[in-house]
Every structure is written in structure tokens, then in C-alpha cells.
């Protein structure tokens, strides 16, 4: 496609950011665009003649540059697949692919702009009113509205960048705003503290860096143009070692205890500051008149930025509409840039005085006092401004038509206080200071002085009163009511819409906001809040302070979801034998934080191998707690339902931990190693919470016991099967004979040269030992056991085989077979509860549960045919669910489906028939209260 032809730039000037010797090229809508290093996307596009930058949210009206400062929604584009990028702050880079959004087929011919003619279909609050009746209409309209709604499209297929890193940082003093005030504050604070200066622009200095009027604010420097003052201030910042500057960084949120959320180009910084100086400045407001959203109507500071920062001539003929002296500065800048200023239209009743108005008069710029622009003519470009005389804020009399191609508007300067107001209250939070124009400073000298004071206070340890914030001015720029007089550019809301919403009863500014969505768009009220307040005040007859303001909440600026989400961190815990499992080709599963072998091939074969020969399983994931100290027996008696003070040294007992209401929290083995020392295992995912639980019951008591989580320090392997003894004997001198090392006993000794603790337990129902040893020997122990068992046909088994094997023994898994309301009583483990103990955690709840009687019970079942239910299948009675299967598998022992299930207590009897709904069919099964395998428990004791 043809290149967009760039108009020549203005003569070079020190305030300009562009480097004319470095030319770059990027694409806009497929067409090449020429730019200079230092250009933003918007400045280059504007110089190339682009006037329509986007289409509006609701009516798809053409929109052009408005603020040129990254605040308004008008210049949002898609850059390299990333939607909603502000082109006026996005640096132009060679090769970038910029496209428009919210327009089809093109920006210039957007079919949906017909919506502009169907305004009555979309009145304020239209989603509460229209498209609802008849019902069918909503069903037809909804998919269309869904597709049309929203700004920008996320390209889910595009290659995403790595994502934003999150950074947590601290600083003594944070200064928000890198203008003259903020820099002054940072310099003063840095005399006594480390300072972070946060600024949303690429270059420090705020608007002073394109100010050409003369100032004398730095004592050592003679009166000089603003941009030179700014340069001197920036130089001082750069030479201060204690000031960290974050440029291109938006402080979007102020949270409790001085936490600032800061979005940089590639990071989300959570910066905690001892003190914060808010030097966020003020925001020039648009004026409200018909057609004030036409491309070519822009803030006067926006036009000044184009001229001064980028050397771009905004137009040929301008009309400047103003409510303050700011418009006079803009008129002069435009005049000096060779733009013919057809008129400076001042809404104020009296002629302005001072240096700026004098200069305007000297330049012979026609000035109309007590006049207002009431209409911008044109469609995709401004053609003329209609000007009328004001009386009492109301336009009267003759309509004067002034041909022009840009209209610059300058409403009041509103304090940019949204960030400081995020604290919620009306008062500035403690340790936060406001300075400069956000705090009401009227000129540069005042602002710099406030900055210095605030910086000194922030650096000091004194708790002097913070500087007061400003109250909003009790005057408002005049506005005109019309269907196309836009208050809110983000959401296409006009003064007529606001008036109508107030008529409908939404006369409180908070409900007005919710109903009309004004202030809720991408600008978050920066361009509209003052006007909404003024309109509300007029409509309700209240003062501006009575109207108040909407609640300010984070984020101040739109923040990408990917920035909030941060990078993906899914840390996985691997056991000390992880590599062995990978080498063996194990299928791994993530369980809680752990990665574990699910199976090495066939879980059924692995099960048979354990039952007939010997198997080993990595059980390093078991939670392991070391409890010692003179009161550890008392502690365990308190937290467990069982008795552990009576447990003899070298013995093991199964224990259940209950919450105080009697429900099961966890289970595991408790081994007494010495009078004052226990070794406890917990289920794999629970050890952290069990450690907390033990410590909670010790907190504030005089129990002298010490709980240490040694989970990651120890590896563990369970060696189980008829040949487990022979296998292990090859690696240790410990007497492993049936009588020398009995079931539920423990011994400490050396295995394969490694100091170990051996627990003789039988989760899988076979003769077996759990060998616990220092984690660094994990692979060594694994290899040693595999070698030792080779002659006996040893095979590793995974989680699934372990589940089958334990299920054949009827051993429960907490969380799988029990849930949040299960107690040891209904889980058929009444034997672990020692009601005779005077007190233990859970006793109160269990006594109540016992007295109440059981309703349901956990029982075993066996299928009669060849079906195997799934975990979670319902138990049904005449079509109604009455219970559920918690675990079910095919038993290698009986060759049939079996498992555990919750059933009503009246069915919890040997031989009762139950029905399980499996894939829609009710399949008969039989309750069985004895384990499928070795019901007498002989194997594990052999």
C-alpha cells in the first residue's frame, strides 16, 4: 500500500524529543509510516496526516488525538497483537505493526458507525431497558451485542511475551510524579533518605520540559525558560546517588500501609514506602459542547505537546476555547508554530490579565471574552467552530461561524488526586504528603516550594502534620447540554445522557456512575469526573462539595491482566529419587505440590509383584515431623484421638488428627523413638497445615515441645512383599526376623551404609518396612534396593498400585475416602478414639456425634458382575442417590470390582445389597465389612 505522506516538521527546538537524523519506519493498517527516533506512534501518525485514530466505544464515532498525554481513550490502537495500547505514549519502533481497533472494515469507513444514528436504541442505561422484550429479541440481540461490545480484541493465538515479572521493593520515600514538584521533593528528601521517583513519562520534567516562559525557581540559576529549569532539575536528580528513577512507570494503586502498585514496561513493582509524596499534578479538562469529540478537537496541552515535543504542526487554522489562562499559552504556541489562530474564545466574563494575555494581545490574536464554542462542525475532521456569547453561563445571541481545522480546548486544571483518594477516606492517609498543583499550588514557584517542604517532611522522622490536600474548586467550566456534547469519551456519554439519568432518579454521583457507566472507562474519570460533578450540581441544585466525588479505586490506569497475573510459577517438588523414576519411564502425576510416579507400566502387574514377590515405592512425599521435648507425650495426647504417652519406645501406632468438632483432618503413623522424642508421618499434602496445627495448640501454653518439619530432609522407601525381608537383609545387619522385628515396631540402624529409621508397617498389607533416611542418599538407596531384590524379582510400584493394594486391605486415604464432615466414628475407626481421655482435640465434637448416632457409614463393597465403578459414582435406592463410592478398583486378588463407599447406616451390614449407578445403569453390589485381601491380617505380621 502507499506510504502515508508526512508533512514537514517544525523548525528544531530544544524542547523537542525527536532525533531528525534517525529515521524509522513502521506500519499502520498495513501502510508504511515514516517517523523519527523520539516520536511516539501518535506523533508520527499525526505528522503523516492521520486524524482519526479510533472509533468510539458505543456509537463508533471517529475519534482523534485529545490529551496526547496517555490519559484519554481516544488514541488506543493495537500494537503487534497487543490491544488497547495508547499510541500517544508508545514509542515508535522500527518494524512495529500498528492497527486500529473497534472499526470494520477500516477506520475511515466503519460500518458500525450507523450506531451513531440509532442513539435512541441505546439510551443511557440501555442494557437495563432495551432488547429485553420480547424475550426472543434478547436472545437474538445478545450475541451481536456481545461481539460488538468491549474495546480491542485479544489475539489468543499470537505469540505472547514472557509476561511481566513481579518485584517487591522497599524505599524510605517514594515520590509519585516526575514534574518540577516531584523532582524538588525527591531532591529534598534525598538529603536524609533513599528515594524512588516514579514518573509515567519516558523523560522527567513534567510539562515544564516544554514550557518556554521564564521562571526563577532554582536559587542558583537566573530566570530562564521552563525547559531549561526542567533540564537543570533533571540533571540534579541524575547526579543524586540516592534517587532511583522509575520512568515509563505508572503508580496505579495506593494500598494499605503505603504499598504502591507500579506498572513499568515489563514489570509489576509492589513498592512499599515509608513515606509517599504525591506530586501528581493536575489534568486539563475538556470543554463540553456539541461535537467536542470530533477529530481535530483536542486539549490545548495536547496541541502544545505536538508542537513542542515532536515538532508537529497540529493544523492550519485553530480556534482556542478556554476557561483559564492555559489557553493563552496554547494560542501563543500555535501562533509561533505558524498556525493561524482564528480566535481565542475565553468563557470567563472579564478580560484576563498578566503576561500571557498581554503577549496574546501583542501577537494580535483575536480574543473573545465571555464567549464559548458551542458547536464543532464537521464529521471526520473539524471544519468550523460555532461561537456564541455567554450570559450567566448560557449561550445567547448570534452564532458566529469560524472556519478552522483544529479546536483547542482548555477547561479547568483539575488536581490529579485519584491516587491519593484511593485510600478511601477524605483525609490524606498518614505518611502521605501532597504537593504541587495536586495540592492547589497556583504557580511553579509555589509548587516547587511545596515539593521541597514535602520532601523534607517525608525524609524526616518527625510526625508533623502532612500538607493539606486541595479541595476541588467551587467553580466549574461552563458546559452545554446536547445529545452530542460528550462528557465521557470512553463510554460515549453526553450531557443529555447524564441529565436523563438524573431525571430517572440517579441523582447521587455514586449511583449515577453505576447507572450511566460514566467515569468507568479506560480514563477512569480523568477526562470527565469534573464535568459530571458540575452537571450533577446544576441538575440537583447542590454545591460541588455537596455532590462530592466517586470513589477512587485501583487501577488508576488500565493494567494488563498479564501484568497482574505475572509470570507462571508452578513450582513442583521432586523427591530425591525423581531421576530414577524418569529413567525407568514412569508415568508421573502432580499431586499437591509433589510430582510422583503414577505407574511404571501396569498398575495391576505392579500389584501382583508386591503380593507375590517384592516391590518398592518412593514414599519420600510423606509429611515427616520430628517432635521432641519433655512435654511431647502430652502434646500428642492432646492433638490425637489416640493415646501416645503410653506408647512404648520403639513402637508405632496409627493416629488420627481431628478438628475440634470431631471431623478428620489427617492420619499417619506415630513412632516413639525415645521418652521425649517422636517421629510422625502425615499425608503427603498436609504436613504444613499439621505443623501449624500442632504449633497452634502449643501457642500461649507452657507445653515444652518442639515440632520440626523434616519432610524435605528425609527420603523414604517402602519395601513390601513376601521377599521384602530377604531383600532388605542383604543391606543391613538389623535383625529383621518375624520375632526380632515385629509388626508396628521401629528400629534405627544402618541400611546400605546409610543411617536409617525402619518402620515396620503395612499400608499395602504385606510384610514390609518403611525406610526413612537422609534425602541426599535417595538415588543410592533406590539402586541398592533394586540390586538387592533383583534375584527375588523386585519391581518398583507407583501410586496407582499402592492405591489398589491399600484398598484391598480397606485402608482409607484421608481426603479420598473421607470428606470435610467425616469423623473417625462413621469412617469405621471408632477404635482410634479414646473417649476415656479427659480431653483431646475433637473430643467435644465426637462425644456429640456419638450421642447423636451415625447416619452414614464408610463400608467396603464388592461387585457381583465384572463392572468396576468409578470413584464418586452414586449409590442409589429407587433412583435416588443415598451414598457414594469413594474409591473403586479392579482387585487383582478376586478379579472383580470392589471399593469403599458411604452408605446409610442401616445398609452398613455384611451382605447387604446396594445399587451403584455406573454410566447410567444401576449395578448391584454387596456390602462387605472384611478386607478383600488377607482379612485376618496375617501377611503383614509374618
Amino acid at each position: 500500500m502507499t506510504k502515508l505522506k508526512a508533512a514537514p516538521r517544525l523548525d528544531p527546538h530544544p524542547t523537542q524529543l525527536i532525533d531528525r537524523s534517525a529515521s524509522i519506519e513502521f506500519a499502520f493498517g498495513g501502510r508504511p509510516v515514516q517517523a523519527f527516533e523520539g516520536d511516539t506512534v501518535a506523533s508520527a501518525l499525526y505528522a503523516a496526516g492521520v486524524r482519526t485514530f479510533s472509533r468510539s466505544f458505543k456509537y463508533h464515532r471517529p475519534r482523534g488525538l485529545l490529551c496526547v498525554a496517555g490519559r484519554c481513550p481516544n488514541c488506543l490502537v493495537n500494537v503487534d497483537g497487543v490491544p488497547n495500547v495508547r499510541s500517544c505514549t508508545e514509542a515508535a519502533r522500527p518494524g512495529m505493526n500498528v492497527t486500529s481497533q473497534n472499526a470494520w472494515p477500516s477506520l475511515d469507513r466503519d460500518i458500525l458507525s450507523v450506531l451513531d444514528r440509532f442513539g435512541p436504541l441505546m439510551p443511557v442505561g440501555f442494557y437495563y431497558k432495551t432488547f429485553h422484550r420480547p424475550k426472543l429479541f434478547w436472545r437474538l440481540a445478545q450475541p451481536i451485542i456481545r461481539r460488538v461490545a468491549g474495546l480491542g480484541k485479544i489475539d489468543v493465538d499470537s505469540a505472547h511475551p514472557a509476561g511481566y515479572a513481579h518485584q517487591n521493593l522497599h524505599t524510605d520515600v517514594a515520590v509519585v510524579g516526575g514534574g518540577a514538584t516531584g523532582i524538588s521533593a525527591a531532591l529534598s528528601a534525598n538529603l536524609g533518605a533513599a528515594v524512588t521517583l516514579i514518573d509515567d513519562s519516558p523523560v522527567l520534567g513534567g510539562h515544564l520540559r516544554f514550557d518556554t516562559t521564564s521562571h526563577s525557581v532554582v536559587p542558583s540559576v537566573d530566570p530562564s525558560p521552563g525547559f531549561e529549569v526542567a533540564a537543570e532539575l533533571v540533571r540534579q536528580v541524575r547526579s543524586s546517588a540516592g534517587i532511583t528513577v522509575l520512568s515509563n512507570s505508572v503508580a496505579f494503586g495506593l494500598y494499605e500501609d503505603n504499598l504502591l502498585g507500579v506498572l513499568t514496561t515489563d514489570r509489576l513493582v509492589k513498592r512499599r514506602a515509608g513515606r509517599i509524596v504525591m506530586a501528581t499534578g493536575s489534568i486539563e479538562q475538556p470543554l463540553v459542547f456539541d461535537g467536542n469529540d470530533r477529530p481535530g478537537v483536542m486539549l490545548s496541552s495536547g496541541a502544545q505537546r505536538l508542537v513542542r515535543l515532536y515538532g508537529v504542526k497540529p493544523g492550519e487554522t485553530a480556534v482556542v476555547a478556554t476557561a483559564t489562562n492555559e489557553g493563552y499559552a496554547a494560542a501563543l504556541d500555535l501562533h509561533n508554530a505558524g498556525v493561524r489562530v482564528a480566535a481565542l474564545v475565553d468563557t470567563r466574563p472579564e478580560p484576563a490579565w498578566g503576561a500571557l494575555p498581554d503577549a496574546v494581545r501583542a501577537a494580535e490574536i483575536p480574543t473573545l471574552v465571555s464567549h464559548a464554542v458551542t458547536l464543532a462542525e464537521g464529521r471526520a475532521e473539524v471544519k468550523a467552530a460555532v461561537v456564541q456569547k455567554l450570559e450567566g453561563g448560557v449561550p445567547i445571541g448570534e452564532r458566529q461561524r469560524l472556519a478552522c481545522d483544529i479546536i483547542c480546548m482548555s477547561g479547568n486544571l483539575e488536581p490529579a488526586d485519584a491516587l491519593v483518594r484511593q485510600s478511601g477516606g477524605l483525609d490524606i492517609p498518614k505518611n502521605v504528603y501532597a504537593a504541587g498543583s495536586v495540592a492547589g499550588a497556583g504557580n511553579l514557584a509555589q509548587a516547587v516550594d511545596q515539593g521541597r517542604q514535602a520532601g523534607t517532611l517525608a525524609a524526616g522522622s518527625s510526625s508533623e502534620l502532612p500538607l493539606a490536600g486541595s479541595s476541588p474548586p467551587e467553580r466549574a467550566a461552563p458546559f452545554l447540554s446536547g445529545k452530542k456534547s460528550f462528557v465521557c469519551f470512553c463510554e460515549d456519554i453526553s450531557t443529555a445522557d447524564i441529565d436523563q439519568a438524573i431525571d430517572e432518579g440517579f441523582d447521587d454521583i455514586q449511583t449515577l456512575k453505576r447507572y450511566s457507566t460514566v467515569t468507568m472507562g479506560p480514563c477512569q474519570g480523568k477526562m470527565c469526573h469534573a464535568a459530571v460533578a458540575a452537571i450533577s450540581a446544576r441538575a440537583t441544585g447542590k454545591s460541588l462539595s455537596e455532590v462530592g466525588s466517586t470513589t477512587s479505586r485501583p487501577p488508576l490506569q488500565p493494567v494488563p491482566m498479564s501484568a497482574l497475573a505475572g509470570r507462571v510459577h508452578l513450582p513442583i517438588k521432586r523427591t530425591p529419587m525423581d531421576r530414577k523414576h524418569i529413567d525407568l519411564g514412569a508415568k508421573m502425576v502432580d499431586l499437591g505440590p509433589w510430582r510422583r510416579p503414577f505407574s511404571y507400566g501396569s498398575p495391576q502387574d505392579e500389584s501382583i509383584s508386591v503380593r507375590e514377590r517384592v516391590g518398592i515405592i518412593d514414599v519420600s512425599t510423606l509429611g515427616k515431623l520430628d517432635v521432641r521435648g519433655p512435654d511431647s507425650p502430652a502434646l500428642l495426647d492432646k492433638v490425637y484421638t489416640h493415646n501416645f504417652s503410653g506408647l512404648r519406645n520403639g513402637r508405632i501406632r496409627y493416629g488420627v488428627l481431628c478438628a475440634d468438632n470431631g471431623t478428620i483432618m489427617d492420619d499417619g503413623t506415630v513412632t516413639r523413638l525415645a521418652d521425649d522424642r517422636y517421629f510422625i508421618t502425615t499425608t503427603s499434602g498436609n504436613v504444613e497445615s499439621i505443623e501449624e496445627w500442632f504449633k497452634w495448640w502449643m501457642a500461649g501454653t507452657d507445653i515444652e515441645a518442639y515440632v520440626t518439619n523434616v519432610t524435605s530432609g528425609f527420603a523414604a522407601i517402602n519395601v513390601a512383599g513376601p521377599k521384602a525381608r530377604e531383600t532388605l537383609s542383604k543391606l543391613t545387619d538389623i535383625d529383621l526376623s518375624t520375632d526380632g522385628f515385629r509388626y508396628m515396631r521401629s528400629k534405627e540402624g544402618v541400611v546400605a551404609g546409610v543411617p536409617s529409621v525402619l518402620l515396620r508397617i503395612g499400608f499395602v498389607g504385606e510384610t514390609g518396612w518403611e525406610v526413612h533416611f537422609p534425602g541426599e542418599f535417595g538415588e543410592h538407596m533406590w539402586d541398592a534396593l533394586m540390586d538387592a531384590g533383583r534375584d527375588f524379582g523386585i519391581a518398583p510400584f507407583g501410586l496407582e498400585a499402592q492405591r489398589i493394594l491399600r484398598l484391598e486391605k480397606g485402608h482409607i486415604i484421608v481426603g479420598q475416602d473421607t470428606d470435610i464432615v467425616s469423623t473417625p466414628l462413621d469412617s469405621d475407626m471408632e477404635w482410634v478414639v479414646r473417649f476415656e481421655k479427659e480431653d483431646f482435640i475433637g473430643r467435644g465434637g465426637l462425644v456429640a456425634a456419638r450421642d447423636r448416632g451415625l447416619t452414614n457409614k464408610l463400608v467396603g463393597f464388592r461387585m457381583r458382575d465384572g463392572t468396576v465403578p468409578d470413584d464418586g459414582d452414586p449409590i442409589v435406592d429407587r433412583g435416588q442417590p443415598i451414598g457414594k463410592v469413594t474409591s473403586a478398583r479392579l482387585s487383582p486378588t478376586i478379579g472383580k470390582g470392589f471399593g469403599l463407599a458411604w452408605v446409610p447406616v442401616e445398609l452398613a451390614e455384611e451382605g447387604r445389597n446396594i445399587s451403584i449407578r455406573i454410566a447410567g445403569a444401576d449395578v448391584p453390589a454387596t456390602v462387605s465389612l472384611t478386607p478383600v485381601y488377607d482379612s485376618e491380617g496375617k501377611r503383614l505380621k509374618e
Binding site: 494499605e256 504449633k695 497452634w696 500461649g700 467435644g844 462425644v847
Partner: protein, 85 residues
């Protein structure tokens, strides 16, 4: 939620280092009535204002502390080691 808690052991720390443990409650004596136990299990004052509550310094010293926190403003007026008498 972004406030700081002063751990008596570690000093000022972000609340995200802690696990919330709920408001302080008084556990009934072992022989208390079923009603007292039920109330202890399930009833909470849920104060709108300052309450004493448990916090566990999970990503720090792994100790339980007690904080007096205003549930409306998240202002923490006091932190201390627990003392259940």
C-alpha cells in the same frame, strides 16, 4: 489487602507472609454442654471493628502471633505473642 503485620520475632512483614487463623475464641472446658461446644465450633462474633485474631508467620519464623486488627480499616493496633493465661 496489603497491610503490614509486626511479627514479634521478625519485625514488619507483609500480610502475605502470614496465614490468617481467625478470631480468638475461648475453648470450653471438656465437660461443657453440647450447646457450648457447638457454639465454640461454629459461632463467631465477626466484629466490625477491632478484634484479636490469630496469625501464623508461615513464610517467616513459623510462629503463631496474636494481632489486634480493625476489620474495617485493616489497621493493626497491636501484635504480641499469644498468652492464653
Amino acid at each position: 489487602m496489603a497491610f503490614l503485620l509486626t511479627c514479634p520475632n521478625c519485625g514488619d512483614r507483609s500480610v502475605y507472609e502470614f496465614r490468617f487463623g481467625g478470631e480468638l475464641t475461648q475453648r470450653p472446658k471438656p465437660d461443657s454442654s453440647s450447646n457450648d461446644w457447638t457454639s465454640y465450633f461454629y459461632d463467631r462474633r465477626n466484629a466490625a471493628g477491632t478484634q484479636k485474631e490469630w496469625w501464623y508467620h508461615k513464610f517467616g519464623c513459623r510462629k503463631w502471633i496474636v494481632a489486634a486488627r480493625n476489620t474495617i480499616t485493616n489497621e493493626v493496633s497491636e501484635t504480641a505473642w499469644p498468652d492464653l493465661g
